[in-house]
Amino acid sequence: MSAGAVLRAVVVVFVAAMLQTVIVSSLVVGGGAPDVLLVVVVALGLVRGAVPGAVFGFLGGLVVDVLTLDTMGISSLVLTLAGFWAGRYGETTGRDRRYAPVIAVGAITLLAGLFGFVLHYMLGEEVVARHALVTALLPAFVLNLALALPIQALVRWAVGEGAHIDSSPELEVLGVR
């Protein structure tokens, strides 16, 4: 990634983290709130690849943990893995699929919710499974899906793709004897 792209990605992640913490998490619809930062990290993973996805996920998580005075590292861990998996999906089976952002955001929202619940449970915090995995997660799933394509387009516009992805076949016919 060029220095300019890195800088733009940092700004995008920082703004997403601030928006998520200050505004979006209080916009509760049907018992849950969207996770803009998660969607942005997934979009970055899809657009720029697994390593940038993981790195920017880690940074975004750090900002959230610092802002919310939460246990440091929890959001970083969840978003690192989210960015990495989104990147790997984009590099392999999700490549050139039109609805890859929707599929990735949907799957990763559910996995991140489940993983976050397990992490909080393992740290001895009282978390009600029904609330974390149903009441809050399902509306968040729907809202994140709704945000997937617009945010993907926004991230692609802001950060750009590293290079043109050639979707041509890897084998070329030279001639028939």
Partner: protein, 299 residues
């Protein structure tokens, strides 16, 4: 047929060495786990706490800026939300009722104190009064994810005199207590959090109990451990008990409104009544709160 493999152009990280990619992600995951371990095991004494405090101080202006910019949109959202819920009329009545409610609670409590408590408690350590506290107004600047915790972050911290366990209120009633403090920010555990519990009393019957979060719901509270012989009724007002005994005292001052009883039930097998409370505070639309800082802190 002759074929030839042609090269494809890929994004830089797409062509990244798998070993390098795994190494970077492994390092990030390991770093996250180290952060979690250090932060969790050391608690408030963690070396990360000062780092987090510094980071929070640096980010606070951004959070406040975002909050200011977002406020009109948040207000618009709240307004639309209240329209959907047909609460616009209720909002006007609620504001009108707020003053009356406060006066009613204070008068009734003062009356009860005059009649019973002052005489009975004359020989005991007196309960703490709100007059022992100085209010610190604080703007809400952050909300952690709602799936796992019910908390807010406010723009006031130890530099304003705020300490861990200080009670937090609004004009409507009790909000919660401070659980973490940095020089400029503080994290407030809301009353609706799974781990929150407050000693409370029914204003009409003086029935004692503990207000907790009702499992499976977002903003409903229960008054737990109420004896069956106490005649709690729907509509009764629940306030903080503010007990004090043997040198120990409740974190919360006496008489702060918590909520109104919406249902009372009991079964033959239960030891206590099941009392459900609708909180006076709307925890979903907190914009600013008052942190009650004790004028004299117990050593």
């Amino acid at each position: 047929m002759t074929v030839r493999r042609i090269s494809t152009t890929t994004a830089p990280s797409r062509g990244a060495n798998p070993l390098r990619r795994r190494l970077i992600v492994g390092v990030l995951v390991l770093l996250s786990l180290v952060l979690i371990s250090v932060s969790f095991r050391s608690g408030e004494d963690s070396p990360l706490t000062s780092l987090q405090s510094a980071g929070s101080t640096v980010l606070r202006p951004f959070a406040v800026g975002f909050e200011r910019v977002a406020q009109p949109f948040r207000d618009a959202y709240s307004w639309a939300d209240s329209l959907v819920d047909a609460q616009s009329e209720a909002e006007r009545l609620r504001a009108e009722n707020r003053d009356l409610l406060q006066r009613s609670i204070q008068s009734e409590f003062a009356l009860q104190e005059n009649d019973y408590l002052r005489r009975l408690l004359r020989y005991l350590d007196g309960p703490r009064f709100p007059s022992d506290f100085n209010p610190v107004a604080a703007e809400v600047i952050g909300r952690p994810g709602i799936a796992f915790t019910q908390a807010i972050v406010v723009a006031a911290g130890s530099s304003n005199g705020v300490r861990v366990n200080d009670p937090v209120v609004t004009a409507d009633g009790l909000v919660g207590r401070v659980t973490r403090v940095t020089p400029d920010t503080a994290r407030i555990q809301l009353l609706t959090d799974e781990e929150a519990a407050v000693s409370a009393v029914d204003l009409r019957t003086s029935a004692q109990g503990i207000v907790r979060h009702a499992r499976g719901t977002r903003e409903t509270l229960v008054l737990d451990r109420v004896r069956k012989q106490d005649r709690v009724k729907v509509g009764d007002q629940i306030v903080t008990a503010g007990w004090s005994a043997s040198g120990l005292s409740s974190l919360y001052p006496k008489g702060i409104p918590i909520g109104k009883v919406t249902s009372v039930g009991q079964t033959d097998t239960d030891l206590f009544q099941q009392v459900q409370i609708d909180p006076f505070v709307d925890f979903g639309s907190l914009d600013a709160v008052l942190v009650l800082v004790p004028t004299v802190r117990p050593r």
